[in-house]
Amino acid sequence: MTFKRRNGGRNKHGRGHVKFIRCSNCGKCCPKDKAIKRFLVRNIVEQAAVRDVQEACVYDTYTLPKLYAKMQYCVSCAIHSHVVRVRSRTDRRKRDPPQRFRRRDDMPKPGQAPRPAGGAPVRT
């Protein structure tokens, strides 16, 4: 039978078992290394209500605080909420973020340390 992914869809190397976590959306149990983890940075007040809150605010300049949350999705919820997308067989092998065109002939920062030879940062 063919293997769909080299790492088997998860990030478990050198271990037999990892504990599971619960999906923050549906509550499904999912191994911690397999879950899709995202950090959410949101304003506590939605964009539409910002003006109303600022008008009702007692203080003149009050920066509205932000909400920082770590979301752990199971694969089903991640695909359903468009956090990740299904990719073609060749696209599945890409692990880097899309590389922007970059001129290599003139280095923008003189004296910068040379980039790693592997090019792509290794994801732990």
Binding site: R38, V41, Y68, M71, R102, R103, D106, K109, P121, T124
Partner: protein, 208 residues
Amino acid sequence: MDSGGVAPQLSEEATHHLQQGIVMLLSQWSALQMAVHNEWGGRQSSQLADQLALDIFSWFTHSREPLYIDDLENILDEAMLSLNTMTEDGSIEEVAEKLMTMHEECLEGNYQSIEKLREAGSRPAVHHIRQAVNEDNDDDDDDDDDNDENMGNDNSSNMIVDAPEAPPPNLNPAEMPVEEPRASNPKVAEADDGWVVVASKRNRGKRN
């Protein structure tokens, strides 16, 4: 130094200022700094952040077609996604707008915004992590203090007002039930202004 064909040319001094301005602006972008500091993108988070600065700079200087802010927002968005961060607070639009205005000002030779950034950067930045730690400690204290103060507020005004005078006999029955639990507590310390300090329950549990 070759700068974009179609876009107006940047002088060397302007490119230098633009580069510095990009780095300073990104260092003040709280979402990016939190992602790098907490390594939300893994061990290479700081390298990814540096790479983002270079990407932005090369996009400004080496792109041939006219610059659109949507492309810049895409670059920022993809960089944050590589750091496993979904920024939905509108900070990407804000940062992209500031970068575009900085680039336009550099084209004109106006470096005021970059100077403002430099002054703002010299001021101490807000430390999100320390605030969280302080808030946790403060929350623990506040919960206990609120309970104590709520108990004290109802009767302390009576106690403070009546303490210099002789306590009227009709108020004694009201004060007795309030004072008894406090007097029986061995850890009660009488404060000078009539407040009674009660040790928090958590310490009591740990010491036992």
